[in-house]
Symmetry: C2
Subunit: 343 residues, 2 copies
């Protein structure tokens, strides 16, 4: 029942025209005080709720922004979502969070969902490396901002975190603490971020006058705890065991920590660990984990703001210029990498 109350009913009840009701709601300053007063009470009385779909239909686009992430279960993306949501809300938009599960087919499905919704734009972390997804968004005229990726051309915005700097931070910290024999648990070698973090690590190594062989690499299939456990086991089996390990990801680091704990290796005394991402559970580990913090919330917020800027087109304002924003990570030192004290 209440569903079918329209602006027309409100107008009748308040004794004004539909245009006036709309004005009271959207531009109250254009309505005379006495008239303005009558409308809200009618709205209240009838339980009127305006229909978003009718607004959208009229406006030609919705008040929603899409966020397409690789993995809802990853705390990093949860933070990105938080940031995006905050920024969007400030502009009166909602965020529709979708989970591609790193799957191109799902991605395509969400693309058409977004297109049908006439979404304002999408914050996107593409799953496929081929650029096909990006091309599809472009073909459909859906504005987007790359998240946690770097734009290749100048035809889109991107917000990412400097992974090379992050890798360097981590390794410099370990080298400064006196470690000379190190390992890198790297995850799948195909990932850009994994490679960049490695590059940064090697840079820091070179800075310190150490050779590449001071950093032994342990690749894994995936970026999860089980893979970390496995890498930890391999680490323990290494001849001439390193004294510190840098992991491409906190999940890997937690897995390594687990393997070390089970084997009775003390952290940080026997082996120091540094992770990456500073997820909430890094601080919650039995030995709180030193980690490279990515400003995920800021990243999400910034991406949303760029999208809004691209999208809002304030009348005569200058055309939007696409930007590549690169944020700096930060090292959060916790117990897992403290310089060993006398036990």
């Amino acid at each position: 029942m209440a569903q079918s109350v329209g602006i027309k009913d409100v107008a009748r009840a308040a004794g004004v025209s539909v245009g006036t009701v709309s004005n009271v709601i959207n531009r109250p300053d254009t309505v005379a005080g006495e008239t303005r007063a009558r409308v809200p009470s009618a709205i209240e009385r009838l339980g009127y709720v305006r229909s978003e779909s009718a607004r959208q239909l009229r406006a030609g686009r919705s008040r929603i922004m899409g966020l397409l992430v690789l993995d809802m279960g990853n705390p990093f993306f949860v933070d990105v979502a938080r940031g995006a949501e905050r920024a969007a809300r400030e502009a009166g938009l909602g965020v529709m969070v979708c989970n591609s599960a790193q799957n191109a087919a799902e991605e395509a499905e969400y693309l058409s969902l977004f297109a049908e919704q006439r979404v304002r734009g999408v914050l996107l972390t593409p799953a496929d490396a081929t650029g096909r997804t990006i091309a599809a968004f472009r073909r459909h005229n859906i504005p987007f901002v790359l998240v946690d990726r770097v734009a290749e051309g100048t035809s889109e915005c991107s917000v990412s975190v400097d992974d090379v700097a992050g890798g360097a931070l981590a390794l410099r910290h370990l080298v400064d603490a006196g470690h000379r024999s190190l390992a890198y648990v790297s995850g799948p070698p195909g990932l850009n971020q994994v490679r960049d973090r490695r590059t940064g690590a090697l840079n820091a190594l070179a800075e310190a006058g150490l050779g590449q062989d001071a950093l032994r690499e342990l690749p894994t299939e995936r970026l999860d705890v089980a893979a970390g456990r496995d890498a930890g086991a391999r680490l323990l089996g290494l001849a001439d065991r390193p004294t510190a390990v840098f992991c491409a990801n906190d999940l890997l680091a937690l897995g390594v920590l687990q393997a070390l704990y089970a084997a009775g290796v003390a952290v940080p005394d026997d082996l120091a660990i540094v992770g990456y991402d500073d997820i909430e559970f890094a601080a919650a580990a039995a030995v709180p984990l030193t980690s490279v913090r990515q400003p995920a919330v800021t990243l999400g917020a910034l991406a949303a703001e760029l999208l809004l800027e691209e999208t809002e087109r304030h009348g005569g304002g200058p055309a939007h210029e696409h930007r590549r924003v690169v944020l700096q990570p930060e090292l959060v030192v916790r117990r897992s990498s403290l310089v060993a004290r006398c036990p």
Copy 2:
């Protein structure tokens, strides 16, 4: 440009009427083969994307279901969302996930968002205990299903997990392992779930012929890791230290574990731990955590299905009957509670 292609343009391009295009899209079997063939190519050629808002406007309701949770950061709700999304997608609906952050004001804001969207219904975990939120949903005629709560009357569906049974599972396990001096890290005493888990624990205790004083209670302000760390410290300070601790929540358990580790108390040998929720990181802890698993994905899926059933009204089908579904939790035994072996 492509945005402004409407069904009318497609009709013209294909040489048919708008009604026919609509039929080809929505009820292909009512269209003769030869005609049906001409439309898709026109759609393709023009890049037509149908406007969801126009559909909604016509239909009077959207194809979206809301999910309003207490905390997006809590892995339990992430799983609920996953389940709900899967079930909704099978019915061709989308899910809009919102985060009330346990805040009644946010909740109210989302309520009006849902109302304006003419959402099909909402899966709801109310933040306020007063029932005001529920009343508001009812007033707005928005169907809802309670998630992780038990419906009080018979005027709504609810899906929850049997917390009394869960508490009993946990405690029975510890008692069976020979523990006679136990503790319960309970979280805020105001929460129903915390109370139910306690009730179950006490039941199990009684079953085993032990008195209530065998279970010392350690309340905390919140249900997070920091609170757990604090409770762990208190636990260590107890005279006549218990040999096992049951935590109302995995986050608390991780905090306790951290405190124990820092103090050099061996788990499970000196102290066994059982958590609750079986979040992903329970298995990832340095000592993998025994935990009571809630079927969160199932819970989300079931809730979504109930909402769909309530909402779909298949023509002459019988009226929807509200149901209270209570799922059973399951104990996942891991190292943190294994019976102590010779060290």
